[in-house]
């Protein structure tokens, strides 16, 4: 081996050693745990400053001509495929857990709930943004109908789609339930939701990133803890290491 080859080889192995060392620190569970403390700070400061502020709403002229669909866009689940084939006849939204009156609502019943339309910007955790119009049932009145029990702290959104090898789910803090822009949307840009965008029902909680906006919502479960659900971190992406706050 000539000298240049040897030098290049030495540089390459040194740099890979350096990277491996960095990664060892970067991915150390205790380090990650310490870093994650910033999430509580993000949430705490934002809640302190925010106090129910509304996300910016736009006009029809701002609507994105090509709203990107991400994550599940065509769920492989047989149960869901059957629902699509039946045009969601027989689909029900279950509301249960820590509620006074568990509900099972048809799509028409969901459509009859207090409705809100909002044109908002969707910010994906990857960095891109699209603007769309969403119409749906406000979650506040829906949960009031079911009667949230005082000990209920979170709403778990159980979804129909399997991504990777786990069912999608998300959790929402109780304080977000009554925010006017927290809706279960059944229409996008004036038409029923398409499969790619979460038909027949998806969450819109406008002050959060895209991964909080669960699609294919089947069941809302009020809970006081979520460590027994999925991977225990409060959501599909949260189980992969993303923060549950999702506000930045």
């Amino acid at each position: 081996m000539n000298r240049r080859g040897w030098l290049a080889g030495a540089a390459a192995s040194l740099s890979s050693l350096w990277l491996a060392g960095c990664d060892k620190i970067a991915e150390d569970p205790n380090v990650v745990k310490a870093l994650a403390s910033a999430e509580g700070l993000n949430r705490g400061v934002q809640r302190l400053l925010g106090r129910g502020a509304m996300a910016r709403e736009f006009t029809r002229a701002d609507i994105s001509p090509a709203f990107r669909a991400n994550g599940s866009i065509d769920p492989p689940d047989e149960d869901y495929k059957a629902l699509v084939a039946a045009n969601f006849a027989g689909w029900t939204l279950v509301v249960d857990g820590l509620v006074e009156r568990p509900l099972a609502l048809s799509l028409d019943q969901v459509r009859a709930l207090p409705r809100r339309t909002q044109i908002t910007r969707h910010d994906c955790v990857e960095g891109w943004s699209c603007i769309g119009e969403w119409s749906g049932a406000r979650m506040g009145p829906l949960m009031a109908m079911a009667g949230l029990r005082p000990e209920a702290k979170y709403i778990v959104l159980h979804c129909a789609d399997t991504l990777g090898d786990a069912k999608y789910y998300e959790t929402l803090d109780r304080v977000d339930v009554d925010h006017p822009q927290t809706i279960l949307a059944y229409e996008m840009n004036g038409a029923p939701l398409t499969v790619a965008h979460g038909a027949p029902l998806r969450l819109r909680a406008e002050r959060y990133l895209g991964y909080k906006q669960a699609k294919y919502v089947m069941r809302l479960e009020a809970v006081d803890r979520f460590d027994h659900i999925g991977g225990g971190q409060g959501g599909y992406w949260e189980d992969q290491g993303y923060d549950r706050y999702g506000g930045i």
């Binding site: 910033a38 400053l49 910007r121 960095g127 943004s129 699209c130 290491g241 923060d243 506000g247």
Partner: protein, 290 residues
Amino acid sequence: MTADIASKPIRVLVRRHSLLVRLTHWVNALSLCLLLFSGLQIFNAHPALYWGQQSDFAHPWLAMGAYEAGGQLHGATQIGPVTFDTTGFLGASKQGTALVQRGFPSWLTIPSTRFLALGRRWHFFFAWLFALNGALYIASGVLGGHLRRDLAPTVEQLKPRHVLHEIWDHMRLRFPKGEEARRYNVLQKGAYLGVVALLLPLMILTGMTMSPSLDADFPWLLDLFGGRQSARSIHFITANLIVLFFFVHIVMVVLSGTWNNVRSMITGRYAIRLRPPEPAPEANLLGDAP
């Protein structure tokens, strides 16, 4: 003989940086490094930038991508209408032995593999450290007078003649060594103030607008930057300007005396060379007498 010895400059150690400036300087340096590398990890999740409120996917002003040709992966970086082949660095680079599609290469991201969730954890933690550290520096700089006394240029320094003279001296790599070296020259002041008062705060503010929650709280901030995708672009451009400052900063540190500069930022002491007062002309006539 005596005159020669007497007029030889004397090396004097002066107190240059306060403990707080030194401390915040190094915390800042560490935070900015980790913010840069974790930021590039986050950028890699969608290596394209746009202007305006949302992403017009067909028309990014900057994009990094990869395409296959001749059985090999090529990296391409598009800036405006121009596309560059950046194989091996941007768009496509080696991960292990094989070329893979990625914006910035693995040796510039935390962690080295593609892992957005972990990159975000690093980014937000050090964003807090960076912001709190910066707030401490600014607060003490305003209250203690460091900004006014050491960084604000004097009227004399701002005269065009003086500025041109400084630029000319810098181009010839002549740096003040004596009495003049007690204070920052006007180009230093301009560079430091630009970073401290403009680039670093801009980094925090554009970073804050990446949060849909904070956007709901402060919609005017996003209006100021012209929309969320513009803000993301400004965040990226500003980061690049800070990297540019870093390289100029390091070059200047080396050219104007590496150890003296580094020591002054660690111990606070900076050496300058002072000429003793010229002996009176009669003194020479008296020969050896002191």
